[in-house]
Amino acid sequence: MSSVPAASHAKPRSAAMEALAALWRRPHVRACMLVVLAYLLVAVAGYAHLLPDHEAAVGDAQQPPSWHLATLLGTDILGRSVLWRVLAGAQTAVTIGLVTTTLAVPFGTALGLAAGYFGGWVDAIINWVYSVVVSVPDILLITAISYALGKGLTSMCVAIAATSWVSIMRLVRGEVLRHKGSDYVLAARSLGAGSRRIMFSEILPNVIHVAIVTSSLVLLAAVKGEVILTYLGLGVQDGASWGLLIAGASQDLTNEIWAPLLGTVTAMFLLIYSLSAIGDALRDVLDPRLA
């Protein structure tokens, strides 16, 4: 091997980097990625206590919008800055999206991998759990979990994750079944690779794109779901959430106050639109069959 000259070009990039680069090349998707990055920065700033306090009054009650950063979208009924509350709502939305996705995607992927690879009773048990969870309508499962764990941010993340791992598990399982009998798996096995190596080093890299594409849908559903669930009284109880903001804005509407609603809706629209555009593009790049 030493006689082979070292490759002159750079180390080949991983599939994930390739996909990101392919996304970045599309101007529309690049703009959406920058928007999502901005939301991430807002969330990080929020956790680093760099955002202004959204609970503090900055002026009179229901002040109209003015060219001052704190009162750009006016103030609410307690004189708090609507803009600060929209930003704090963004922090909540990003948190719920990320936590839910990090709970659901690895869980669903691992179960799908195990069910597809081992088959037999492992598959039977995982499929039973799957069939039970998909049989309970999402909204009822979320209601039940928020009863068991108490209402709030944590239980909402768990509840949304509990309803979203199932689709990932089913898709990954299907892909694993397709790959299990492939020549490359047989080759690895004949070279003496064990189950763990075959599952994680051979099959997983070939099926992970399914999980990545679906995770963008999970993220989107979590962000959208939080608003509705909070409005229904199942989600965030205090603090800041776009759902609470919209509920408050509906009171303001009867007094002809539009700014809080427009601000919240715009903030939600930008994030949801960008996430769905990135998700669609990701599907084009990673899995042409699904497009």
């Binding site: 069939s131 039970v132 309970v136 229904l232 509407l253 939600m268 629209f269």
Partner: protein
């Protein structure tokens, strides 16, 4: 076919058992004590013990679970903790109200959306198609909550075309339901038309469609005689799986417009710790889902004989 039905019914038993177990664990084992919720923090030990006995919560968990299974099999879910009403009648009237909220937009929406999707497919990649696609992507990025709020404000509060919220039984309900119907119809349009368009486009270059074209069939004939008939199965499947959700009603609409359907019943029960209601709704919702999935599979088996044997 009979053997297939029996086999699928038997397969549903472990699933329903699992649903019962999950429901029981979440509400009875992990959830907060409903007796405490009902009596508050200052109740005497005797009052707590009495109520716990009255609700059967003094038995061991396995015994309570067996009792729950008996309720599921006999469809006798007992009485609400809060109102003391028989759950059978309460849920039945709630389900009827929920159906009256969801069925009209569901039926009307299916007809309208299939027609629009056909029209868009006819003019695919033209200006109508591209405009519609852009519009739907934008429209679907706005939360459903915003549509409800904005339309209520505009059509009920500002223009006074509809009552703001409320409900009356009988035909008078139509007055209150018209706005929720309209909103649901609009909310269904984006996702449904996109789905139907994809289904139609999947077949648009299929061999049999190409053959039809080469025989001189016009675009209209191709769509109605060759593409649409093949798309019926996925369209029907999609709609059959929606039926259980029609019974559950729209939580958002019922909450927003104060309509006393299953959704409102459930959310009220959640805040009051009314376990029998919550457990009954969860299990019945799951049973409906299992049942209609079965119906779906049977429809598939009728349409495609290969399914029956595998």
């Amino acid at each position: 076919m009979g053997a297939y039905v029996v086999r699928r019914l038997l397969q549903a038993i472990p699933t329903v058992f699992g649903v019962a177990l999950l429901t029981f664990l979440l509400f009875n084992a992990f959830g907060p004590d409903p007796v405490r919720t009902a009596l508050g923090n200052h109740a005497t030990a005797e009052a707590i013990a009495n109520l716990r006995h009255q609700w059967g919560l003094d038995q061991s968990l396995p015994l309570q679970f067996v009792d729950f299974l008996r309720q599921i099999v006999t469809f006798d879910y007992g009485r609400s903790y809060v109102t003391g009403d028989d759950l059978g009648t309460q849920l039945k009237s709630g389900a009827l109200v929920s159906l009256s909220v969801t069925v009209p937009p569901f039926v009307f929406g299916a007809i309208v959306n299939v027609s629009i999707a056909l029209f868009i497919t006819r003019h695919r990649d033209g200006i109508v198609d591209r405009a519609a696609r852009a519009l739907f992507i934008g429209a679907m990025s706005v939360s459903a909550l915003v549509y409800v709020l904005a339309l209520q404000y505009l059509l009920a509060f500002k223009l006074d075309w509809f009552p703001i919220n409320g409900y009356e039984s009988g035909w008078a309900a139509v007055k209150y339901l018209a706005l929720p119907w309209l909103i649901q119809l609009l909310l269904l349009m984006g996702p449904d038309i996109r789905l139907y368009r994809t289904l139609f486009l999947a077949d648009i270059d299929a061999d049999w469609v190409r053959t039809a074209r080469s025989k001189g069939a016009g675009e209209g004939r191709v769509l109605f005689r060759h593409v649409l008939p093949n798309a019926w199965i996925p369209i029907i499947t999609q709609n059959v799986t929606t039926i259980p959700f029609l019974i559950l009603g729209s939580f958002l609409m019922e909450r927003f417009f104060s309509i006393p359907g299953i959704g409102n019943l459930t959310i009220d029960a959640l805040s009051r710790g009314d376990l029998p209601v919550l457990k009954a709704v969860t299990v019945l919702g799951a049973l409906a889902l299992v049942l209609f999935n079965l119906v779906n599979d049977l429809l598939y088996a009728v349409a495609d004989p290969r399914v029956r044997l595998s």
